[in-house]
Symmetry: D4
Subunit: 240 residues, 8 copies
């Protein structure tokens, strides 16, 4: 097909369109989707949760043959040691447990992605969002520890809020921060509840419900602790 | 016993102490506690929810023989018409459905009680709290429609917040307002979740959980829609 | 005001207090935010749920003095009759109960907003999203009755999916549609669970949970039955 | 009784019928049902969850006196070592933790049983279903990693789906796969939710609710992670 | 295509296969799937819940052009009156609210389908299952009011249980009946929880959980009150 | 007081009545109620859950000065070793973790207490009930592994059921056994849900709900895994 | 059989035993258990919830041929009018909606059954328990409106508590009363949670959980609002 | 700054922006609010849950430069060893895990704070409340092991209850104690549910619901196990 493109028999747009719908490659225990990053123009992602080190290493080996950035979520130092041997560019983001292999530093997002978090304990999830957005080609900023019980801290940073094109707000406990932030801006706010809290926080349910019931209308919610999803969606929006 | 007090055989303090623990009067289907208002120095209260009009009327008749204020919660216009005939001073508070018969206007609360509400729909519960606190001898103020998605409205009223000795915050949906208010003051905040909302508000559970997980420490919570309880507790605190 | 300070007519402390934030206009039972539509460049919105007809009519009268589009959600035919008298351009969208007064037909959204729904019963919520997005200046399309149990219907419409810049997916019961749609495109998908279903659908909880756990990463979720919120957020994204 | 059969005094059908309802044998701490496998024509099964190694070993010893296949679920390598000594034919299925001792390879199921799973993490439960069905005398096939966010993978395998007489679909997270599969075939689909996921998956509740609310009508559901039950029921159906 | 079949250019099997995957007919607000009944060999079904009478009448008109049986669930007497005018063969099943138009009395199921219910109040759901299975071409029997607190009633009917090829068990309250029945037979048991009960039955949740946790392995569960689904699935199984 | 009884100044009944209401002895971190066993005629009980070994040992030392039986629930082998040194009569019930020191073997219960359990895994809770009832002076019998999926086992033991004066039924998973047992007898049945199960058993909630919704009326329920409570209540009833 | 008894060929005990296990009479839509009242020595009971008036009337007609007391729960005035025509002895208990036809006033319970309730709103459930126990041949007393927030009322009635052989405690809201009562007596306490309350009472769940977690060990719980069950079980215990 | 405006050195717009709020001090990963203790007149608090020892040590170092009391919650012996080196006045409260550095022993609370607990297992949470209130300058008393199943113990301490100005009641299991206590006094009662219990206590939910539904009106509730919050709020009230 690519030869047809070269020879002019096929338009580039058609080729891309075709590639977007080519079937997957069947690797036995998994159907790896080599065209996924191409189709969506994003890095290759390995969700580390529940995968064995050997499995992850195997998948990374396969991915290294290509040129995209690679993101591994929920990893640990031991896995990082193995990945580091495969590619010296690998970096470990300790707080969130993310490993990145950045081979393409093109900025694809049109504006800034801002990651806001309520408490210090929410930072691991916030960082996962931040690293994801960065690896996907965005300029990212963060604004941490601006929980609603000290509202003046947030008000003091309103300029930063207004500079962002997409905002990710990470909060546990009562999950009130996204509503306040969303009321101060006119851009989309992606709310990430965290499982931080105790007792009646019910491992993030309180925050999740708070965010779903936000009285601000420019808020949408992802799963509890899903920093990766928030960073991914923010990147999708920021490329529009 | 009161004669003993008069004759000096009994100290006043002892008499009050005794009265506080005198047995109740058994009226068959209910054990009416005539000394309750004396013991706690508060008005007589009839929780109207689920009582028949005739029952309420009967109880009010009995209470009128005494001189305390009377508060009937969750009433309606038809009941008010009957109560109005018993005592012309009866007043109907339409939004909350409360009926009051105020016979004693002594201010017993030492400071102001402020009732704050997030949305217009929360006003019925807020008013129940306000009427309760007022009937119990407090100076009360209200501050409505200052939800967290328009945080500048609340900030603009910070002087009012700082003037209060006790604050009641009423909010449905995500229930985030008490945290923000409590972070701006150094007085007790009583949070009242309301059943306002839809979908994942689960009839007030989202707001309740949000308030229980407040990141501000000067907040305590009462039952969903329990404006009366909040007004009562605020009065108890304001008399200290 | 600052000029008053400079000229010495106002004390510094008073100025600080005033400045804390520019006040909104206080209309007694509500603090109407005349600058909201200006600030965010959007129409004026009245959430009809739980407001009385007279209240809504009053608010609309005030809004008509301005030139923005007006959207009233969750209305009925009786309210429409009253609004129609205020402005002949008022239109009633029967399925969703929305009333619109469109005075500005400028297209502000850069691409198409597509509203997809799973079943016929989900259409009211889908229409609310669609009307909202349209009133906010977007070109909108809809694709209804493409539930996942007849996946060939959705596959057959894949071109429509790829033509959209933002997609809203509305589904009740198992809430599986957003995952399937999101896997077929590279744009943001806003998932709206509906309360359609019975038994173990628990008034939309099943669909909500399904969407929060979506295995596609370009999905974010709003509250159950919140078509308005989805349309609003889609518009915010489509203007970026 | 069997002598009566031999001598012709009793018909074979009646004898089988009687055997099916003979009382159990009381082994003190358990009432072992020696006729169970006969009655239902199935292997002897030991649910390993929560049983001690010595207990399981004892039960297996008893069962070896008979000629049926033996299936032990939720075992581990240490238990396998002990069982291996009892019978060299014992095999360990590492992913699901199942141990099988296959002594009878008769195919009793009339068609193929297909086990489909959504994600790699669902494979342990899928394998338990597969091993169960195989030990019970079925031809089984598997189709893994065909989650709904990459729907083209599933479409590409539609022939395999149509070749099966009973289909087991295993999925965690949003549990959407059974609806899609069931819509593509006209045979019974047994849905197995798994506890795979995090946050709002609530250890399989999201998947369970999704499956119970399936918009396809040829779907029934078993307990979360109950691969054994699905394999067992599929075998019961496949023998009809 | 059918001409190709006639002329011998296409094998019948291939034609049926093609028909099974022909696209749907798009009727605007719904994508009616004319080939559905052909594809799956079943009657045309209209789920009445939440559809307006005119809508249902319209769909029935379209279906009458074909020769399949028609089943309308959750209807009422008024709708029946309208349908009766369209086709005199229409019958109304009062307890369950089902309407059937039976035009094809071929028995397609290979054995008997037995519907068992625990209490008198469960009969409407049981009848929906029974009517569905009957309309789909099965010989059906019923066994009502055999709840587990009077276990001798069920034991007394064990022959009926053993005569069935598929059993549907309908129960509310504690939902224990499917386990008992399943333990007495070697055929598949489809359990239908009902919303019958009060207090801690939580509208069928208690029964649903009981059935999902059945200690018998030949049981699978459908949604609360989903008699139709049970009857449908039983028919799918009984045709195998 | 006892001297008054001896001298005839006080009737025995009055003395017992007084003793029943004598104040407790305040031991600082706990108010030990020395008259509790006297008042209720029962042994002294130490709920071991969450108490440190030293604490339990200390309390036992104090109790040994008296002559009642002693029951320690939820203990382990290490604690037993310490208790054994205090009193050689101490016995350890390994399955339930109960330790008993029986010094009074008087039978106080008027009939037999029967403990029935559904599965082998429920035996620890069943044994706790059995040991409690035995230590409290009852003749106890047990009937294990008679779950409802093999109903003939239970039917075969109906004589045992009819011989009991109080029956305790212990069951996890669907919790159906108490209904079946209660329907076969005319005595009180105390149902104990256990946390045995997985997935949708939700650590005993399924069994608890099943038992609360029992269609038999001679059933009452205690907390999940509360074998002690069941044994205690059975003893209270059996002494009546 | 009865003739065999008369002629001495069968012992009375054996006859009773046989009768206890005679099969039921199959009345088509219901299997009426004529021997139920004989077997358990109790009145005939019709649970009125969800039965039509004609159905109940029919069943009563059948029962009148016998001599037992008849109890109909959850009836209304209209049904009572019909029943009154069948038997003039019928009485209507307005608060609980129970209808009784008492034809046998033998006292079968050995002691007193005491029904205690927390609030005035709990009386309907309390009365159902009381009427049930009375119809089943017990001397019953009641003690109403002794909620735990006025603990002196309960203390003042401690003699009444000690006079009972079985105590039923009915409470909504926090459901704390059974624990307090049970701590004051040495007899069995049957706790009945009611759906009285609002907000976080969740229709009786708060009370139910409170009772299941009672720190007193002589407490068992029945379903929410199940006054009948409590009265029935109390009668079973009181006959022991 | 305003002087700069007056003198013309600063533009009005810049001043407005700056004034929006006075900044806090930004310490990178946390925004430490040095004025917080000043503003509210309370000690500096470090919530230890989830913070690393090094982090806590760092924050304490910073705080030691000031003169307020310091409270660290949820610490352990190892952390205490490090803190002890920073300041010899540090004290470790073993049961609750609190560390205090008391440098200011001024009594600021006007009356006594009484901490009441139901069971021995609730003491850790009770002690956290007690230590918090003490560190915040209150005279505190405690009353432990007065659970409602032995109500005479509580009655015996009624004088202590009446001597308090604010009462904190800590209880797990059914959470009934706050209602009883609140009914005996006329001061505010802060209820703290604990996660003590098992089975249907659901880690404190039963106690939480019980307290929210308290039939006494002078009760408010904080999060499960939130002894710190209760002590903090009690201090806020006691300073009024």
């Amino acid at each position: 097909m690519l030869r047809q493109v070269r020879s002019g028999k096929m338009r580039v747009e058609d080729a891309v369109d075709s590639l977007r719908h080519m079937p997957y490659e069947d690797l036995g225990y998994a159907k790896i989707d080599h065209h996924r990053s191409l189709r969506q123009g994003f890095p290759e992602v390995i969700l580390g949760r529940g995968k064995e080190h050997a499995q992850v290493e195997g998948i990374v080996r396969g991915m290294l043959a290509r040129r995209h950035n690679i993101l591994i979520t929920r990893a640990d130092a031991a896995l990082f040691a193995r990945i580091k041997k495969l590619d010296r560019r690998a970096a470990f983001h300790k707080l969130s447990g993310a490993i990145t292999i950045v081979r393409d530093r093109t900025i694809r997002g049109k504006g800034k992605v801002l990651v806001v978090s309520a408490g210090t304990s929410d930072i691991p999830v916030a960082e996962e969002a931040l690293v994801t957005a960065e690896t996907m080609g965005n300029r990212v900023h963060s604004l941490y520890d601006v929980g609603v019980a000290g509202i003046h801290r947030l008000i003091g940073e309103s300029r930063q809020l207004r500079d962002a094109r997409v905002i990710i707000v990470v909060a546990g406990m009562e999950g009130a921060l996204p509503s306040v932030v969303a009321g101060m801006v006119a851009v989309p706010v992606i709310a990430v509840p965290t499982s931080i809290g105790y007792g009646a926080s019910f491992r993030g349910i309180a925050a999740l419900l708070g965010m779903l019931n936000s009285c601000a209308s420019n808020v949408a919610v992802v799963n509890i602790d899903n920093g990766f999803g928030a960073g991914y969606l923010a990147s999708v929006i920021n490329r529009l």
